[in-house]
């Protein structure tokens, strides 16, 4: 073995440089420095992968994003706004401020990503694609919280009183009888129309309390000018009073494109001798899929 004399300071500098790159406090012998240098990861390591195909991947890793597509994925983009000049086959994952499928994009450090919708650029247009993220042993579909798409609610009412409150993504609506023998009609509409063209389903959880409503309805309406839930409804789910069961429900939107008002209606019977208490309905996880 050839031997020579080297300044110790060089070894100290090399060791310090290694510790800076791998963010450790490890002390290195000269014989350990070369392997340590080789072990240093270049660039930033991602914590997810985007895969295509028409069959859900088997044995996926955590944070695998599956895009249900028969078309080759030529690249992927995470952004709020539609990408300009995409390549054919590129996948755009639209992101927002929140998502039920959020994940950390990096293995070290953190960039939280909130995917909401997936499209692929095919033959010069963006085509919506079903997409899911694999987390904690389950596949979860991308979805859009409807409360993130509206600024608030307006009210159309005939008779009765009631309220709508939104707190931590939970919508609570109430209606109360007047005591006279009149039917109360109330619909809480979104302040603005929502474009539902990209979605095939409205999904939500609902709980009923003290309900003697004659009918509750949730879904989309073509106009926000009437308190009568049987007018202007486009796609809705109804809950009859005597058969209102807590649970998870959906409304089919697969043939409903365009912009409509999201609405929640309550129709309450007002006869005080029957029931004049406050009816409450609680909606959670209202999302567009």
């Amino acid at each position: 073995m050839a031997r020579g004399i080297s300044d110790d300071q060089h070894y100290k500098d090399i060791a310090a440089a290694i510790r800076t790159k791998n963010e450790t406090d490890t002390l290195y012998k000269p014989s350990e420095m070369a392997p340590a240098i080789l072990a240093i990861q270049g660039g930033v390591e991602l914590n997810f992968e985007v895969v295509g195909g028409t069959t859900q991947p088997e044995n996926p890793k955590e944070n695998t994003i599956w895009v249900n597509t028969p078309n080759e994925i030529t690249g992927w983009i995470f952004s709020v706004d539609e990408p300009t000049e995409p390549a054919d086959g590129a996948v755009w994952i639209r992101t927002g401020k929140s998502s039920n499928t959020e994940f950390n994009a990096l293995k070290q450090n953190s960039i939280n990503v909130y995917p909401r919708l997936c499209k692929q650029y095919i033959d010069n247009s963006w085509m919506k694609k079903e997409a899911m993220v694999y987390r904690d042993g389950e596949w979860e579909s991308f979805s859009e919280n409807i409360l993130d798409l509206i600024t608030g609610f307006t009210t159309q009412r005939e008779n009765g009183t009631g309220t709508i409150t939104v707190d931590n993504n939970i919508v609570t609506v109430t209606t109360k009888g007047t005591g006279s023998n009149e039917q109360a009609n109330v619909i809480y509409f979104s302040a603005e129309k929502i474009d539902i063209s990209d979605y095939t389903e409205l999904s939500f959880d609902v709980e009923f309390e003290n309900n003697n409503i004659t009918s509750g309805k949730i879904g989309f309406f073509s106009a926000n000018s009437s308190p009568y839930a049987w007018e202007n409804h486009v796609a809705t789910k109804s809950f009859p009073a005597t058969n209102a069961i807590d649970g998870h429900y959906s409304v089919d939107l697969s043939e409903t494109s365009g912009s409509y008002y999201f609405g929640i209606s309550l129709i309450g019977f007002q006869n005080e001798t029957w029931y004049a208490g406050t009816n409450t309905t609680i909606y959670k996880n209202i999302v567009l899929v």
Partner: protein, 98 residues
């Protein structure tokens, strides 16, 4: 309230071909036949499974034909209704101020 008829896929019809289920509902009051026939009506207590496996329970209504077509048909129906009413008023010699 009016009677509609739903088939095995819960698609709405305005006449029964002998195989359908009759449903009395006010959901389509004032709507023309073309509008009604473009809808799916799932009664309370029943459910429909879409071809992608998503299950929808009743009572639920949703278009199975593009809503834009149904809306166009309904608007044309309402225009015709208004024109018929106007013609009838003219025959009767009734004028409407304003």
């Amino acid at each position: 309230m009016a009677m509609i008829y739903i088939d095995a896929e819960f698609k709405c019809h305005v006449a029964d071909d002998g195989t359908m289920t009759a449903v009395e509902t006010n959901v389509f009051d004032g709507k023309c036949d073309a509008f009604i026939k473009g809808y799916r009506f799932i009664p309370a207590g029943e459910s429909w499974t879409r071809e992608d496996g998503v299950i929808f329970t009743g009572e639920m209504i949703a278009p199975w034909r593009p809503y834009s077509e149904l809306d166009a048909a309904q608007r044309e129906y309402e225009r015709e209704q208004a024109a018929d009413m106007q013609a009838a008023l003219e025959i009767l010699g009734v004028t409407v101020d304003g």
